[in-house]
């Protein structure tokens, strides 16, 4: 009801009482009922209304007395009027007091309504007496609906502790705090951070409880997700089959920030040495410990220096990646176990994000001993096969190679005999003798060089990777087959620029690839009347790759043969073993490259070798070797 209606009601009530007082033949204290007028006015919560009503009631009481009794001597009617007046005054005072208290309360209630927390007051029986706006929104019940309901039933409150314990704590301390779960009107489950305050009466008896609830459902969910995640990762760390190391790189960070270390080549050996000792091992999982044969991590695993072999060549690269701010770095190196065993491993380093204050780095390590053994065995088998093929190739070339060797030998003998004849002439011809001897020396050197090339080609050495420049590689290969080309009347064009970066590879194996391809091209062109031309060219299609192309003017490769050409034991030659091109391809691929064929029937064959540039790796190797 609005204030205006209370005022109208109060006025009508006052008028009614006045008329009854004046007109009714009752001898009674009718004016006492003006108290109702005052109380009605008090409902407007306005002091002014109360005072107006009170004055009006007093005035009307006095007026009614004057109208009825005039100036007659004071008697019992006057006494009754006085009693009524007293009642009106008392009611006024009480109403004003009550109003003041209500104003304070509603000010408090407004404050409570401003809060984002759900706040309600319940009496000691649990019935809700106050219910703020936030509670209306959060729980879905209006204050009117909630008031009078038992809070725990309405909200289906579930305590994480025993309800009795909560009650005991509340009574004992006057306060309780804790987590509980409640349900909203729509049934949604809320996790709440709850604070209770006990309200006591004058004598200290508990009269009610102010409950404040903060919705922590999201926070709680996030937290438990975090806990689950933490548990999961811990499990991965502890129980995973992959070795995991946690390392502290903060000391390295400080050093790297000082100098420019973003390029592997600018990392000095001294810095590398310091880094080995300053990268601290914070934690290592069981898989890693068993890999390196260590039981007590803190005692034996202090820094990277304790586990990394001296010959390691990967740390510089890792430091450079760290300095660049890379998120990730991986490689292959060797660790040394507690018992001195060398363990080949693959590793992957995860660096913290640049804005991450923590400089802890995770290193995942996989033991590849078995894989390495298998790889070595495969590599050895491949090398033996390659060697067998080289021997077979030289066998095919034996006639031309014999000629190649016999030429300088014959020249040596003939020069020697000619020299003797010049010497025995009368008089001896010293100039001719000297010239003959010089030719003997030069020809002997030439023979030695040819033999050296052949021996190197036939060497059965384990595969060795070294930086190789293409011009020398091509020249060595061509030297072995030069005579074969001459005999077959093949014109050779070599266009291999000297400025190209080196490849990292095994000299003999790559030479074998070239020799095979050259011999194949030569044989393909043998017997044709068209010009026989073999062109060898080199280029760098990108900064990371080199390309060697061998193009002949032979009949090309028939399409039905092209796709089988690189298969072992496939040969288009009548007495071919069929290993040549297969070996060429596996050799190229073992060097991280490709061997491809491009052929148009009748348009000659083009074999293209693509190899990765070996320069950067070579530089790393140099750094690693110097440390």
């Amino acid at each position: 009801m609005s204030n205006a209606m209370y005022r109208v009601a109060a006025a009508l009530l006052a008028l009614g009482i006045f008329l009854f007082d004046v007109l009714a033949p009752l001898e009674g204290a009718v004016a006492v009922f003006y108290v109702l007028v005052v109380l009605a006015a008090a409902r407007t919560a306005s002091r002014f209304d109360v005072l107006v009503a009170s004055l009006a009631a007093i005035g009307l009481t006095a007026l009614a007395y004057v109208l009825q009794h005039g100036m007659e001597p004071l008697g019992s009617p006057a006494l009754r009027a006085l009693v009524s007046l007293a009642a009106i005054l008392i009611a006024t005072v009480l109403a004003l007091q009550s109003q003041s208290a209500t104003a304070t309360l509603s000010a408090h209630a407004r404050l409570l309504n401003l809060s984002h927390d759900m706040i309600f007051v319940r009496d000691i029986d649990g019935r809700i007496r106050f219910w703020n706006v936030a509670a209306e929104h959060a729980y879905g019940w209006s204050a009117a609906e909630a008031n009078g309901r038992v809070a725990d039933e309405l909200l289906q409150t579930r305590y994480r502790a025993e309800r009795a314990e909560v009650e005991t704590a509340l009574l004992h301390n006057g306060r309780w705090e804790g987590l509980l779960e409640q349900r909203t009107r729509s049934g949604a489950r809320l996790v709440l951070d709850s604070r209770w305050a006990l309200q006591r009466g004058r004598r200290g008896e508990p009269v009610g409880v102010l409950e404040t609830h903060t919705d922590v459902t999201d926070r709680e969910a996030a937290h438990s997700a975090l806990v689950r995640s933490e548990r999961r990762y811990r499990r991965m760390f502890d129980a995973g089959r992959v070795g995991v190391l946690e390392e502290d790189w903060s000391a390295v960070r400080a050093e790297l920030a000082a100098g420019s270390a973003e390029d592997t080549r600018t990392i000095e050996p001294a810095l590398l040495e310091r880094a080995r000792r300053s990268i601290r091992i914070v934690d290592a999982n069981a898989a890693f410990l068993s890999m390196v044969g260590v039981e007590d991590a803190p005692q034996f695993l202090r820094t990277v220096d304790d586990i990394l072999v001296r010959a390691d060549r990967t740390l510089a690269g890792a430091l450079a990646a760290f300095a660049r701010g890379d998120a990730f770095h991986e490689g292959e190196t060797e660790l040394v176990g507690r018992d001195g065993r060398i363990i080949p491993v693959l590793f992957a380093i995860t660096f913290p994000a640049p804005d991450d204050a923590c400089d802890h780095v995770l290193v995942h390590v996989v033991d590849i001993t078995e894989r390495r053994l298998a790889h070595d065995a495969l590599e050895q088998a491949r090398a033996e096969l390659a060697h067998a093929t080289r021997v077979a190739t030289l066998g095919e070339l034996s006639a031309s190679i014999a000629h190649e060797v016999s030429q300088p030998l014959m020249a040596v003998v003939t020069n020697g005999e000619a020299g003797l004849r010049w010497l025995r002439r009368e008089p001896p011809e010293a100039g001719e003798v000297g010239a003959a001897l010089e030719r003997v020396v030069a020809e002997a050197r030439r023979a030695t060089e040819i033999v050296r090339r052949i021996r190197a080609f036939l060497a059965k050495a384990p595969s060795q990777r070294a930086p190789l420049v293409l011009p020398a590689l091509v020249e060595d290969a061509v030297a072995l087959v030069r005579r074969e080309l001459v005999d077959a009347r093949v014109q050779l064009h070599v266009d291999v620029p000297t400025g190209l970066p080196p490849v990292l590879g095994d000299r003999v194996q790559l030479q074998q690839v070239l020799v095979n391809l050259i011999v194949n091209a030569t044989q393909a062109m043998a017997g044709q009347s068209r010009p026989r031309v073999l062109s060898i060219s080199a280029s760098a299609p990108s900064t990371r790759a080199l390309r060697l192309e061998l193009r002949d003017t032979g009949p090309g490769i028939a399409p039905e043969h092209a796709h089988r050409l690189f298969e072992p034991f496939f040969s288009t030659k009548r007495d071919g073993m069929g290993m040549g091109l297969a070996i060429c391809r596996t050799t190229t691929e073992a060097h991280g490259g490709r061997l491809e064929l491009e052929s148009e029937p009748g348009g000659g064959a083009l074999f293209r070798i693509t190899l990765p540039v070996g320069g950067a790796t070579a530089a790393t190797a140099a750094v690693g070797g110097a440390s």
Binding site: A402, H403, M410, A411, A418, R439
Partner: protein, 210 residues
């Protein structure tokens, strides 16, 4: 005939694609006083003007551009008929056989003894010298033969075939006296004194002896 000039020195033409081998052979041949001509390929040889002197060719069986055997075959086409000494490497036996059939004078396997090479070359040059002399003699006979009249050539053919003067007269249809006169002229013009010399000259000239 021209007056005899001082004989030109014999020479050896060396064809080998290997400069080292050429230089060695050059030195060896010069050390015994032979002149040398060096060629890196058969093409160079075929284009060169060779001295008008007794000589021989030293050829490698394996040569770039064309094999030594091909060279041997094409020499005649270029008017070069020098004797050839072949050098062979190991395993060139089929080529050797082929070259021998084609008339190679000698074969030397590399590496050879210098004396063997010198002997082979000396023999080849001697043969060339004889061949040149023979050719010179044959050239003289031919010139004399050309001075004969057709009738005298006819008589000479019958005489060297072994017919008596009377028989010749019968075949040609002349008197025996006339045949005798023709025969005297033939002997005089051909510069022979005996019948046997005449027969030999006819053989050298390949005069038909029906």
């Amino acid at each position: 005939m021209r007056p005899a000039a001082p004989p030109p020195p014999p020479f050896v033409a060396i064809v080998d694609d290997d400069a080292g081998v050429r230089a060695a052979l050059d030195s060896l041949f010069r050390s015994i006083g032979l002149a040398t001509r060096l060629f890196g390929s058969p093409a160079e040889l075929l284009q060169a003007a060779l001295p008008d002197a007794p000589g021989c060719l030293v050829l490698d069986v394996r040569l770039p551009g064309s094999s030594g055997l091909d060279v041997q075959a094409s020499l005649a086409g270029h008017g070069i008929d020098l004797p050839v000494v072949f050098m062979t490497g190991h395993g060139d036996i089929p080529m050797t056989v082929q070259a021998m059939k084609a008339g190679a004078l000698d074969f030397l396997s590399k590496p050879f003894r210098d004396q063997d090479m010198l002997d082979a070359v000396t023999a080849a040059i001697e043969r060339d010298r004889r061949r040149r002399a023979e050719r010179a003699g044959k050239d003289g006979l031919l010139a004399r033969y050309r001075t004969l009249t057709p009738r005298e050539r006819e008589v000479m053919g019958h005489v060297v075939a072994g017919l008596m003067n009377k028989q010749v007269a019968g075949v040609i249809g002349l008197s025996e006296i006339t045949v005798k006169i023709h025969r005297g002229n033939v002997m005089r013009k051909m510069g022979v004194r005996t019948f046997a010399d005449l027969v030999r000259a006819a053989e050298a000239l390949g005069v038909s002896q029906r």
